[in-house]
Amino acid sequence: MDMQVTFLDRLFDSGLLIDTGVEGLYARSGTFEDVITGFERLIDKFSGETGAEVIRFPPGMNRSYFEGSGYMKNFPQLAGTVHCFCGDDLAHADLIQCMAAGEDWTGGQKASDIVLTPAACYPLYPIVAKRGNLQAGGGLFNIQSYCFRHEPSMDPARMQLFRMREFVRMGKPADVMAFRQEWMEKGKELMAQVALPVDIDVANDPFFGRAGRLMKNNQRDQNLKFELLIPITSVSKPTACMSFNYHQDHFGKTWDLKTVDGETAHTACVGFGLERIALALFHHHGLDPKLWPREVRDALFG
């Protein structure tokens, strides 16, 4: 924990991150953003996924898609919903009074049609399914979104609002699994270009509660999730900076997503935690990118 606080303090002191008074909610400096931009450019250059359809999402998604995704079955503790004032003049007067008195003013807020996006690919599946069957060869998407997870923490590598970059593959099981396998190798090569030490290990998502224990064990037993880990605030507990996920037919069944032959599509995604990768770069190469090793600067800014 001390190491986390120390690194966070250094990030604040250097101005790379700007404190907002809420744990895990930070503003970013121009230098921090330059690193993210540079890394995203490197992803594009390196990926070879030139045929991918590029989609950029806003940080919120359609609430009905969120409900249909089953996210609340598995991760209710992480979700954030957008609630708004929908009352009349009287309700407004009550609200102002409560706020002035320091009382809870949020009780009358009503759920809007928007939920904060929990992972970049969640809004993608229903959108693609609505287009009809996938084309021959399946689908490949290059996506990015700000994502929200309600997990306040002093660990700068565990933000509540952060960007996730992903490649998502949809299609026949063999194609989707091959895509994920290739990316586990490519992920290591990509991080080698920016001189970051990595390890890849089997992982699980933070499923909620006792039922979640079974889901975690199932996910691990079937090798459905791997993470690329880089030490940032702890050597013994390195941070997941990329993940490689095989969803089997989960999203295919959930959204009635079909291959060209009308079979239920399988899906996989490869995710980059962009802020975490930037933090890994600052941790390993120093807080001033101008002083980073030449090969790292060339890879990111060349």
Binding site: R210, R213, M215, N217, Q219, D221, H250
Partner: protein, 83 residues
């Protein structure tokens, strides 16, 4: 006990095949038991037998077949597996 397990499997397992067609030893995952359905089945079994699965038995193996479920439940009921 296996009759009760079969009944719960039919109700909660979401299998594409009739439970009657499955042998006690049949691989339930091969028969189409999803992770989500195995969670529902786990909660249903806990309720029906008034037991609680200890964490180390909350795994894929415990729900792999009707035989495996019966063995796990028996072990918990007989106190061979403390919660």
């Amino acid at each position: 006990m296996k009759d009760k397990i079969r009944e719960l499997l039919g109700k909660l397992g979401g299998l594409p095949v009739a439970v009657d067609t499955l042998a006690d030893s049949a691989d339930l995952y091969a028969a189409g038991l999803s992770s989500f359905a195995s969670v529902q089945l786990m909660l249903g079994i806990e309720d029906a037998f008034d037991i609680e699965f200890p964490d180390h038995l909350l795994n894929r193996k415990s729900f792999a077949s009707i035989d495996a479920i019966a063995e796990t439940v028996s072990a918990i009921v007989e106190g061979r597996e403390a919660a």
